[in-house]
Amino acid sequence: MAYSEKVMDHFANPRNVGEMPDADGIGEVGNSKCGDIMKMYIKVKDNIITDVSFKTFGCGAAIATSSMATELVKGRSIDDALQLTNKAVMEALDGLPPVKVHCSVLAEQAIKAALSDYYTKQGIDPEPIVGKISECEECHLH
């Protein structure tokens, strides 16, 4: 099993890492199977994600996918962020080993969880917009 150079780069130099004290939305997701936890913080202004950061407990792929996911949504509209898929995160990292695919699902879910929290804080029911955040199929395969 080997990681791509991009994965190693995002692992060794993670972008947007750390807590955000004044976040507008915070999402935390966990994978009960491998025990990994991802926490995402977002700052929103006029429907744009002006800032984003993360904290992750997990393997190299979990850290790299968190980092890449923050890069992919930073400065983008909420609508764009809602379209983010684990596939896009994976492709941006030049792929992941098969057993690590679920780590990218976790990253996608963490972004969605932060958006859900943002809507809830705005007094808006997030479910019709963000959908349900459930355990991914990938994780059930293992």
Binding site: A12, T56, I63, V99
Partner: protein
């Protein structure tokens, strides 16, 4: 800062120069098949005989012919266990006792036998990673065919009271095998003193080559073959001999057993300095008993961080180590060894194994002690789990 530290000697070791030199002629010069009649074949036969004598001497086997060459530790374990199971069956015995933290070469073989109607009891290894002799005695039944307990554990290095365990098995007329793959060449092994019936070893764990090992079988035990075919190994194990392999294994073992007391005194000092130095890290723990432990084994957990990311960070700093976290081996389950010690999943995911050999130095320990704590701190600073642990402890 380009120093490289190899701290994964329990996974495999570098081939020693002596072993490499001893092997060389048997690739291109003396390449004959030992079963042949001509001189070239005879030279190969002599090399195999000499290797067998040397290895028997290193473990104090009564006769060289008690040592059978195989392809490694996994084959030795498979052969001993499946063979003993078959012997048991002839007497209507279908029960085997082992321990929860054996190597998969043993555990998966036992699972296979369970599918074929055998019953297996796995002894607890408790928080300290040690089998209790009285628990073995209590587990023995009328129909117990074999007790197989590893000499030293490959993840946490704990050393079992093999002599005592073998005595108990024999008191009840049960065969005793030990997987000594992690122990041979590292601690002194005397098969007669230990009283074991079978013992597995593997060349690449003591600076010999990979893909070669041996099973010691006490005289009188008529173990059925695992590999059928030609009449090699006195008809017990078929296949043209791995001449260079057995020559290299013998050379490496002879070298390894020469200076066991001095080497272990040095390694124990290094190990204890490393454990003490890393133990000052908040919420760290040593896995397994500190005294009944291989001199070169350090296994620790650091709460709030995950094993694989720790290993990758260490690798970036030129330190090769391993983890109980099976993330690295392509499966997501935490180490069965650490779970057997009773560690919860999230902690079992964060273990680090550092294993040393004769080739490591005090400078290696210095380097690890300077590199590791900041890595732990960095990973914790980005870990939401660590945040929770810290917040919970404040309450």
């Amino acid at each position: 800062m380009s120093e490289y530290v190899y701290a994964d000697n329990a996974a495999t070791t570098r081939l020693s120069d002596a072993a490499f030199e001893a092997m060389k002629p048997y690739f291109t010069e003396y390449f004959g098949n030992p079963s042949s009649l001509y001189k070239l074949g005879a030279a190969s036969q002599r090399a195999v005989d000499k290797a067998r004598e040397d290895i028997a001497g290193c473990i104090n086997a009564p006769r060289p012919t008690d040592v059978y060459f195989v392809s490694g530790g996994s084959e030795a374990d498979n052969w001993a266990i499946k063979g003993a199971a078959e012997l048991g069956l002839k007497k209507g015995k279908k029960h085997i006792i082992s321990s929860r933290f054996e190597h998969h070469a043993v555990l998966h073989t036992l699972e296979y036998l369970e599918k074929h109607g055998y019953e297996v009891t796995l002894l607890e290894v408790h928080e300290d990673g040690l089998v209790r002799p009285e628990e073995l005695e209590a587990a023995i039944r009328e129909d117990t065919a074999l007790v197989t307990i590893m000499f030293a554990n490959n993840e946490i290095g704990t050393i079992q009271p093999i002599k005592e365990l073998a005595e108990i098995a024999h008191k009840h007329g049960v065969l005793f095998h030990t997987d000594a793959v992690q122990a041979v060449g590292t601690v002194e092994i005397d098969v007669q003193e230990l009283g074991v019936d079978m013992l597995s070893m593997s060349g690449h764990k003591f600076h010999g080559p990979k893909g070669v090992g041996a099973l010691y079988i006490k005289k009188g035990i008529r173990l059925p073959s695992l590999i059928h075919g030609g009449a090699q190994e006195r008809g017990m194990r078929a296949g043209t001999e791995n001449i260079a392999g057995v020559v290299g294994m013998a050379a490496a073992l002879k070298e390894a057993v020469e200076n066991i007391p001095e080497r272990n005194a040095r390694l124990t000092k290094m190990r204890d300095r490393l454990i003490d130095g890393l133990s000052v890290i908040d919420r760290s723990r040593v896995n397994g008993d500190r005294v009944h432990r291989l001199p070169g084994n350090v296994n620790m957990c650091f709460e709030g961080i995950e094993g694989e990311s720790l290993l990758l960070m260490l690798d970036l700093k030129g330190i090769s180590a391993s983890s109980g976290s099976a993330c690295t081996s392509g499966s997501l389950d935490p180490s069965h060894v650490l779970l057997a010690l009773g560690l919860p999943h999230e902690i079992a995911h964060g273990s680090l194994r550092l294993t040393f050999s004769d080739e490591n130095t005090e400078e290696d320990i210095d380097r690890i002690l300077s590199v590791l704590p900041p890595i732990v701190e960095r990973l914790r600073s980005m870990s939401p789990l660590w945040e929770k642990i810290v917040n919970n402890s404040k309450d």
